[in-house]
Protein backbone atom coordinates (compact mmCIF):
# COMPACT_ATOMS: atom_id res chain seq x y z
CA UNK A 1 0.00 0.00 0.00
CA UNK A 2 2.64 2.51 1.00
CA UNK A 3 4.31 2.28 -2.35
CA UNK A 4 1.31 4.13 -3.79
CA UNK A 5 1.52 6.83 -1.17
CA UNK A 6 4.32 8.26 -3.27
CA UNK A 7 2.72 10.61 -5.86
CA UNK A 8 5.40 9.89 -8.48
CA UNK A 9 4.82 6.17 -8.09
CA UNK A 10 1.08 6.74 -8.35
CA UNK A 11 1.46 8.81 -11.50
CA UNK A 12 3.51 6.08 -13.14
CA UNK A 13 0.92 3.45 -12.23
CA UNK A 14 -1.98 5.66 -13.39
CA UNK A 15 -0.27 6.31 -16.74
CA UNK A 16 0.19 2.57 -17.20
CA UNK A 17 -3.47 1.78 -16.44
CA UNK A 18 -5.12 4.67 -18.32
CA UNK A 19 -4.67 3.51 -21.95
CA UNK A 20 -6.02 0.04 -21.14
CA UNK A 21 -8.95 1.44 -19.22
CA UNK A 22 -9.79 3.71 -22.15
CA UNK A 23 -9.72 0.81 -24.61
CA UNK A 24 -11.98 -1.29 -22.36
CA UNK A 25 -14.31 1.68 -21.86
CA UNK A 26 -14.66 2.44 -25.59
CA UNK A 27 -15.10 -1.19 -26.61
CA UNK A 28 -17.60 -1.97 -23.83
CA UNK A 29 -19.63 1.19 -24.47
CA UNK A 30 -19.89 0.58 -28.22
CA UNK A 31 -20.66 -3.13 -27.95
CA UNK A 32 -22.95 -2.66 -24.94
CA UNK A 33 -24.98 0.15 -26.52
CA UNK A 34 -25.26 -1.81 -29.78
CA UNK A 35 -26.64 -4.78 -27.84
CA UNK A 36 -28.84 -2.70 -25.55
CA UNK A 37 -30.43 -0.42 -28.12
CA UNK A 38 -30.48 -2.70 -31.14
CA UNK A 39 -29.52 -6.35 -30.78
CA UNK A 40 -31.58 -7.31 -27.73
CA UNK A 41 -35.25 -8.29 -27.50
CA UNK A 42 -38.07 -6.07 -26.25
CA UNK A 43 -39.78 -7.13 -23.03
CA UNK A 44 -42.95 -9.24 -22.95
CA UNK A 45 -44.62 -6.68 -20.68
CA UNK A 46 -42.78 -3.40 -21.12
CA UNK A 47 -42.02 -3.51 -24.83
CA UNK A 48 -39.23 -1.26 -26.08
CA UNK A 49 -39.21 0.86 -22.90
CA UNK A 50 -37.20 -1.92 -21.26
CA UNK A 51 -34.12 -0.48 -22.99
CA UNK A 52 -34.03 2.30 -20.40
CA UNK A 53 -32.99 -0.46 -17.99
CA UNK A 54 -29.60 -0.82 -19.71
CA UNK A 55 -28.77 2.79 -18.85
CA UNK A 56 -30.59 2.97 -15.52
CA UNK A 57 -29.44 -0.20 -13.75
CA UNK A 58 -25.66 0.17 -14.35
CA UNK A 59 -25.99 3.83 -13.26
CA UNK A 60 -27.62 2.72 -10.00
CA UNK A 61 -24.91 0.09 -9.46
CA UNK A 62 -22.27 2.77 -10.07
CA UNK A 63 -23.97 5.09 -7.58
CA UNK A 64 -23.56 2.47 -4.84
CA UNK A 65 -20.17 1.18 -5.98
CA UNK A 66 -18.70 4.69 -6.03
CA UNK A 67 -20.05 5.38 -2.57
CA UNK A 68 -18.28 2.27 -1.28
CA UNK A 69 -15.06 3.53 -2.90
CA UNK A 70 -15.50 6.92 -1.17
CA UNK A 71 -16.26 5.17 2.14
CA UNK A 72 -13.25 2.82 1.98
CA UNK A 73 -11.02 5.72 0.92
CA UNK A 74 -12.35 7.81 3.82
CA UNK A 75 -11.76 5.00 6.29
CA UNK A 76 -8.19 4.53 5.03
CA UNK A 77 -7.60 8.26 5.18
CA UNK A 78 -8.93 8.57 8.73
CA UNK A 79 -7.15 5.55 10.20
CA UNK A 80 -3.82 5.48 8.34
CA UNK A 81 -3.70 9.18 7.35
CA UNK A 82 -3.02 8.04 3.81
CA UNK A 83 -2.92 11.24 1.69
CA UNK A 84 -3.73 9.53 -1.61
CA UNK A 85 -6.74 7.77 -0.08
CA UNK A 86 -8.12 11.16 0.90
CA UNK A 87 -7.62 12.38 -2.66
CA UNK A 88 -9.24 9.23 -4.06
CA UNK A 89 -12.40 9.91 -2.05
CA UNK A 90 -12.43 13.56 -3.07
CA UNK A 91 -11.92 12.60 -6.73
CA UNK A 92 -14.54 9.82 -6.74
CA UNK A 93 -17.44 11.70 -5.09
CA UNK A 94 -18.47 13.87 -8.08
CA UNK A 95 -18.51 10.77 -10.30
CA UNK A 96 -20.85 9.09 -7.83
CA UNK A 97 -23.04 12.19 -7.69
CA UNK A 98 -23.40 12.24 -11.48
CA UNK A 99 -24.30 8.55 -11.69
CA UNK A 100 -26.76 8.84 -8.80
CA UNK A 101 -28.37 11.74 -10.65
CA UNK A 102 -28.43 9.68 -13.85
CA UNK A 103 -30.05 6.74 -12.04
CA UNK A 104 -32.70 9.05 -10.54
CA UNK A 105 -33.37 10.81 -13.84
CA UNK A 106 -33.59 7.67 -16.01
CA UNK A 107 -35.68 6.06 -13.27
CA UNK A 108 -38.16 8.92 -13.46
CA UNK A 109 -38.29 8.78 -17.27
CA UNK A 110 -38.87 5.02 -17.04
CA UNK A 111 -41.39 5.31 -14.21
CA UNK A 112 -43.73 7.68 -16.02
CA UNK A 113 -44.64 5.31 -18.89
CA UNK A 114 -44.40 2.07 -16.86
CA UNK A 115 -45.76 2.92 -13.41
CA UNK A 116 -47.76 5.97 -14.35
CA UNK A 117 -45.75 8.38 -12.20
CA UNK A 118 -42.35 10.05 -12.19
CA UNK A 119 -41.86 9.71 -8.47
CA UNK A 120 -43.20 8.05 -5.34
CA UNK A 121 -41.73 8.24 -1.86
CA UNK A 122 -41.10 4.51 -1.53
CA UNK A 123 -38.13 2.93 0.26
CA UNK A 124 -35.92 2.51 -2.81
CA UNK A 125 -36.45 5.89 -4.43
CA UNK A 126 -36.15 7.77 -1.15
CA UNK A 127 -32.96 6.01 -0.04
CA UNK A 128 -31.31 6.71 -3.42
CA UNK A 129 -32.29 10.38 -3.09
CA UNK A 130 -30.61 10.33 0.34
CA UNK A 131 -27.49 8.92 -1.37
CA UNK A 132 -27.57 11.87 -3.79
CA UNK A 133 -27.63 14.29 -0.85
CA UNK A 134 -24.84 12.38 0.93
CA UNK A 135 -22.59 12.95 -2.08
CA UNK A 136 -23.57 16.63 -2.11
CA UNK A 137 -22.87 16.89 1.63
CA UNK A 138 -19.47 15.21 1.26
CA UNK A 139 -18.47 17.57 -1.54
CA UNK A 140 -19.83 20.61 0.31
CA UNK A 141 -17.83 19.73 3.45
CA UNK A 142 -14.62 19.64 1.42
CA UNK A 143 -15.30 23.24 0.41
CA UNK A 144 -16.72 24.41 3.71
CA UNK A 145 -13.46 24.44 5.68
CA UNK A 146 -10.38 26.38 4.63
CA UNK A 147 -7.87 23.93 6.05
CA UNK A 148 -7.53 20.97 3.69
CA UNK A 149 -6.76 18.54 6.53
CA UNK A 150 -9.81 19.44 8.57
CA UNK A 151 -12.08 19.58 5.54
CA UNK A 152 -10.94 16.16 4.41
CA UNK A 153 -11.43 14.68 7.86
CA UNK A 154 -14.92 16.15 8.26
CA UNK A 155 -15.97 14.93 4.81
CA UNK A 156 -14.54 11.48 5.49
CA UNK A 157 -16.48 11.16 8.73
CA UNK A 158 -19.69 12.08 6.89
CA UNK A 159 -18.93 9.47 4.22
CA UNK A 160 -18.55 6.80 6.90
CA UNK A 161 -21.75 7.83 8.70
CA UNK A 162 -23.62 7.55 5.41
CA UNK A 163 -22.37 4.08 4.57
CA UNK A 164 -25.35 2.52 6.39
CA UNK A 165 -27.49 3.84 3.53
CA UNK A 166 -25.95 1.32 1.11
CA UNK A 167 -27.53 -1.83 2.63
CA UNK A 168 -30.74 0.17 3.07
CA UNK A 169 -30.83 0.93 -0.68
CA UNK A 170 -30.02 -2.67 -1.56
CA UNK A 171 -32.58 -4.30 0.74
CA UNK A 172 -35.30 -1.60 0.75
CA UNK A 173 -37.25 -3.56 -1.86
CA UNK A 174 -37.17 -6.68 0.33
CA UNK A 175 -37.80 -5.07 3.72
CA UNK A 176 -40.71 -2.85 2.72
CA UNK A 177 -43.51 -2.76 0.19
CA UNK A 178 -42.22 -0.52 -2.58
CA UNK A 179 -43.37 0.49 -6.04
CA UNK A 180 -39.86 -0.29 -7.28
CA UNK A 181 -39.46 -3.95 -8.21
CA UNK A 182 -37.06 -6.27 -6.33
CA UNK A 183 -33.62 -7.19 -7.66
CA UNK A 184 -33.48 -9.00 -11.02
CA UNK A 185 -29.77 -9.72 -11.30
CA UNK A 186 -28.16 -9.88 -7.85
CA UNK A 187 -30.56 -12.32 -6.25
CA UNK A 188 -30.12 -15.64 -4.48
CA UNK A 189 -31.72 -17.89 -7.11
CA UNK A 190 -29.97 -16.37 -10.12
CA UNK A 191 -31.02 -13.57 -12.50
CA UNK A 192 -34.68 -13.39 -13.49
CA UNK A 193 -33.87 -12.29 -17.00
CA UNK A 194 -32.71 -14.20 -20.08
CA UNK A 195 -29.06 -14.18 -21.20
CA UNK A 196 -29.76 -11.96 -24.22
CA UNK A 197 -30.89 -9.20 -21.84
CA UNK A 198 -28.34 -9.89 -19.12
CA UNK A 199 -25.39 -9.66 -21.49
CA UNK A 200 -25.93 -6.04 -22.68
CA UNK A 201 -26.61 -5.06 -19.06
CA UNK A 202 -23.35 -6.54 -17.79
CA UNK A 203 -21.37 -5.18 -20.77
CA UNK A 204 -22.59 -1.67 -20.00
CA UNK A 205 -21.83 -2.20 -16.32
CA UNK A 206 -18.22 -2.95 -17.33
CA UNK A 207 -18.21 0.16 -19.55
CA UNK A 208 -19.41 2.35 -16.66
CA UNK A 209 -16.74 0.88 -14.34
CA UNK A 210 -14.00 1.51 -16.92
CA UNK A 211 -15.27 5.08 -17.28
CA UNK A 212 -15.02 5.39 -13.50
CA UNK A 213 -11.38 4.21 -13.53
CA UNK A 214 -10.45 6.65 -16.31
CA UNK A 215 -12.11 9.69 -14.72
CA UNK A 216 -10.92 8.79 -11.20
CA UNK A 217 -7.28 8.49 -12.29
CA UNK A 218 -7.40 11.79 -14.22
CA UNK A 219 -9.05 13.58 -11.33
CA UNK A 220 -6.47 12.21 -8.87
CA UNK A 221 -3.61 13.27 -11.13
CA UNK A 222 -5.19 16.71 -11.32
CA UNK A 223 -5.46 16.95 -7.53
CA UNK A 224 -1.79 15.96 -7.15
CA UNK A 225 -0.72 18.56 -9.72
CA UNK A 226 -2.82 21.24 -8.02
CA UNK A 227 -1.07 20.43 -4.76
CA UNK A 228 2.35 20.66 -6.37
CA UNK A 229 1.33 23.98 -7.88
CA UNK A 230 0.22 25.45 -4.57
CA UNK A 231 3.49 24.32 -2.91
CA UNK A 232 5.48 25.87 -5.74
CA UNK A 233 3.63 29.17 -5.62
CA UNK A 234 3.99 29.40 -1.86
CA UNK A 235 7.73 28.84 -2.26
CA UNK A 236 7.85 31.62 -4.83
CA UNK A 237 6.06 33.98 -2.51
CA UNK A 238 8.54 33.22 0.22
CA UNK A 239 11.54 33.47 -2.11
Amino acid sequence: MHRFANPAEFNRLADAILPWAKVVMAAAFLYGLYLALYASPADYQQGESVRIMYIHVPAAWMAMFTYMVVAVASFTALVWRHPLALLAGKAAAPIGLVFTGLALLTGMLWGKPMWGTYWVWDGRLTSVLVLFFLYLGYMALWRALDEEDKAGRAASILALVGVVNIPIIKFSVDWWNTLHQPASVMRMDGPSMPVEMLWPLLTLAVAYKAYFVVVLLYRMKLEINLRKLSVLSSLEVQG
Binding site: V79, G123, L179, M193, P194
Partner: protein, 163 residues
Protein backbone atom coordinates in the same frame (compact mmCIF):
# COMPACT_ATOMS: atom_id res chain seq x y z
CA UNK B 1 7.74 4.45 15.86
CA UNK B 2 6.08 2.23 18.44
CA UNK B 3 3.91 5.15 19.55
CA UNK B 4 2.83 5.84 15.98
CA UNK B 5 1.81 2.25 15.49
CA UNK B 6 -0.32 2.23 18.65
CA UNK B 7 -2.09 5.41 17.59
CA UNK B 8 -2.92 3.93 14.20
CA UNK B 9 -4.25 0.82 15.87
CA UNK B 10 -6.28 2.99 18.24
CA UNK B 11 -7.78 4.95 15.33
CA UNK B 12 -8.59 1.70 13.55
CA UNK B 13 -10.49 0.39 16.56
CA UNK B 14 -12.32 3.66 17.22
CA UNK B 15 -13.30 4.13 13.56
CA UNK B 16 -14.48 0.53 13.20
CA UNK B 17 -16.58 0.66 16.35
CA UNK B 18 -18.04 4.04 15.41
CA UNK B 19 -19.10 2.87 11.94
CA UNK B 20 -20.59 -0.36 13.31
CA UNK B 21 -22.41 1.50 16.11
CA UNK B 22 -23.93 4.13 13.80
CA UNK B 23 -24.98 1.52 11.23
CA UNK B 24 -26.45 -0.69 13.95
CA UNK B 25 -28.34 2.22 15.51
CA UNK B 26 -29.87 3.32 12.21
CA UNK B 27 -30.90 -0.21 11.25
CA UNK B 28 -32.42 -0.83 14.70
CA UNK B 29 -34.45 2.37 14.43
CA UNK B 30 -35.70 1.36 10.99
CA UNK B 31 -36.76 -2.07 12.22
CA UNK B 32 -38.33 -0.60 15.37
CA UNK B 33 -40.46 1.66 13.17
CA UNK B 34 -41.76 -1.49 11.58
CA UNK B 35 -42.35 -2.54 8.01
CA UNK B 36 -45.79 -1.04 7.61
CA UNK B 37 -44.93 2.54 8.48
CA UNK B 38 -42.04 2.56 6.02
CA UNK B 39 -43.89 0.72 3.30
CA UNK B 40 -45.48 2.53 0.40
CA UNK B 41 -48.67 0.49 0.55
CA UNK B 42 -50.61 -2.10 2.54
CA UNK B 43 -51.52 -5.49 1.16
CA UNK B 44 -55.08 -6.77 1.57
CA UNK B 45 -54.15 -9.09 4.47
CA UNK B 46 -52.61 -6.17 6.37
CA UNK B 47 -55.69 -4.02 5.68
CA UNK B 48 -57.87 -6.72 7.23
CA UNK B 49 -55.51 -7.30 10.14
CA UNK B 50 -55.39 -3.58 10.96
CA UNK B 51 -59.15 -3.18 10.56
CA UNK B 52 -58.72 0.16 8.84
CA UNK B 53 -61.98 2.09 9.08
CA UNK B 54 -63.93 3.38 6.10
CA UNK B 55 -62.98 6.85 4.93
CA UNK B 56 -59.34 6.71 6.04
CA UNK B 57 -56.97 7.42 3.20
CA UNK B 58 -54.21 4.86 2.48
CA UNK B 59 -52.46 3.02 -0.33
CA UNK B 60 -53.51 -0.50 -1.19
CA UNK B 61 -51.29 -2.75 -3.28
CA UNK B 62 -51.13 -6.30 -4.54
CA UNK B 63 -51.88 -8.30 -7.64
CA UNK B 64 -54.87 -7.60 -9.87
CA UNK B 65 -56.70 -10.90 -9.44
CA UNK B 66 -57.11 -12.61 -12.82
CA UNK B 67 -60.68 -12.63 -14.12
CA UNK B 68 -61.90 -9.78 -11.92
CA UNK B 69 -61.32 -6.81 -14.22
CA UNK B 70 -64.36 -5.12 -15.75
CA UNK B 71 -65.21 -1.76 -17.29
CA UNK B 72 -68.41 0.03 -16.35
CA UNK B 73 -70.82 1.32 -18.99
CA UNK B 74 -69.52 4.87 -18.78
CA UNK B 75 -66.21 3.56 -20.17
CA UNK B 76 -64.19 5.34 -17.49
CA UNK B 77 -64.92 3.44 -14.32
CA UNK B 78 -63.11 0.19 -13.71
CA UNK B 79 -63.72 -2.60 -11.24
CA UNK B 80 -61.12 -5.15 -10.20
CA UNK B 81 -59.99 -7.08 -7.16
CA UNK B 82 -56.63 -6.66 -5.49
CA UNK B 83 -55.28 -9.82 -3.90
CA UNK B 84 -52.16 -10.82 -2.01
CA UNK B 85 -53.10 -14.46 -2.45
CA UNK B 86 -54.39 -14.59 1.12
CA UNK B 87 -57.03 -11.83 1.10
CA UNK B 88 -58.94 -9.89 -1.56
CA UNK B 89 -60.28 -6.34 -1.65
CA UNK B 90 -62.55 -5.13 -4.47
CA UNK B 91 -61.53 -1.80 -6.00
CA UNK B 92 -63.32 0.77 -8.13
CA UNK B 93 -61.39 3.42 -10.01
CA UNK B 94 -62.49 6.20 -12.31
CA UNK B 95 -59.71 7.56 -14.50
CA UNK B 96 -56.89 6.52 -16.80
CA UNK B 97 -55.10 3.25 -16.12
CA UNK B 98 -51.32 3.04 -16.74
CA UNK B 99 -50.14 1.06 -19.79
CA UNK B 100 -48.70 -1.73 -17.72
CA UNK B 101 -51.95 -2.39 -15.87
CA UNK B 102 -52.94 -6.03 -16.44
CA UNK B 103 -54.64 -8.84 -14.63
CA UNK B 104 -52.14 -10.91 -12.71
CA UNK B 105 -49.70 -7.98 -12.41
CA UNK B 106 -48.85 -5.81 -9.43
CA UNK B 107 -50.63 -2.54 -8.78
CA UNK B 108 -50.53 0.22 -6.15
CA UNK B 109 -53.68 2.26 -5.60
CA UNK B 110 -54.53 5.19 -3.36
CA UNK B 111 -57.94 5.97 -1.95
CA UNK B 112 -60.43 5.05 0.78
CA UNK B 113 -62.60 2.14 1.80
CA UNK B 114 -66.31 2.87 1.48
CA UNK B 115 -69.03 1.56 3.78
CA UNK B 116 -69.33 -1.76 1.99
CA UNK B 117 -65.66 -2.68 2.06
CA UNK B 118 -64.91 -1.60 -1.51
CA UNK B 119 -61.76 0.44 -1.98
CA UNK B 120 -62.51 3.60 -3.96
CA UNK B 121 -59.21 4.54 -5.61
CA UNK B 122 -58.34 7.89 -7.16
CA UNK B 123 -54.82 6.86 -8.24
CA UNK B 124 -53.68 3.60 -9.81
CA UNK B 125 -49.99 2.91 -10.43
CA UNK B 126 -48.70 -0.22 -12.15
CA UNK B 127 -46.00 -2.09 -10.26
CA UNK B 128 -43.92 -4.19 -12.60
CA UNK B 129 -42.18 -7.20 -11.15
CA UNK B 130 -38.54 -8.23 -11.38
CA UNK B 131 -39.05 -10.50 -14.39
CA UNK B 132 -37.84 -9.68 -17.86
CA UNK B 133 -38.41 -11.84 -20.94
CA UNK B 134 -38.66 -11.47 -24.72
CA UNK B 135 -42.19 -11.15 -26.17
CA UNK B 136 -44.05 -14.40 -26.55
CA UNK B 137 -42.15 -16.15 -23.78
CA UNK B 138 -42.85 -16.47 -20.09
CA UNK B 139 -40.30 -15.31 -17.51
CA UNK B 140 -38.42 -17.76 -15.37
CA UNK B 141 -40.01 -16.73 -12.08
CA UNK B 142 -43.54 -15.85 -13.23
CA UNK B 143 -45.86 -14.84 -10.39
CA UNK B 144 -47.37 -18.03 -9.13
CA UNK B 145 -50.35 -16.82 -7.17
CA UNK B 146 -52.47 -19.67 -5.97
CA UNK B 147 -55.20 -18.41 -3.76
CA UNK B 148 -55.69 -20.71 -0.77
CA UNK B 149 -59.47 -20.53 -1.06
CA UNK B 150 -59.80 -19.81 -4.74
CA UNK B 151 -60.40 -16.32 -6.10
CA UNK B 152 -63.58 -14.52 -5.09
CA UNK B 153 -64.30 -17.19 -2.56
CA UNK B 154 -66.00 -14.63 -0.35
CA UNK B 155 -62.94 -13.90 1.76
CA UNK B 156 -63.94 -11.30 4.33
CA UNK B 157 -64.44 -8.34 2.07
CA UNK B 158 -67.62 -7.03 3.62
CA UNK B 159 -67.27 -4.98 6.80
CA UNK B 160 -69.83 -7.06 8.65
CA UNK B 161 -67.79 -10.21 8.50
CA UNK B 162 -64.48 -8.55 9.14
CA UNK B 163 -62.44 -8.99 12.31
Amino acid sequence: MAGLKTRKKQRLVVASIAVAAIAGAVLLVLFAMGGDSLSLFLQPSAVHAKEIEAGKRFRLGGLVAPGTFSKAEDGLTYHFTITDCAADIPVTFKGLLPDLFREGQGVVTEGRLNGTGTFVADTVLAKHDENYAPPGTMPKNAEACTHPEGLNSGYNTSPGSRG
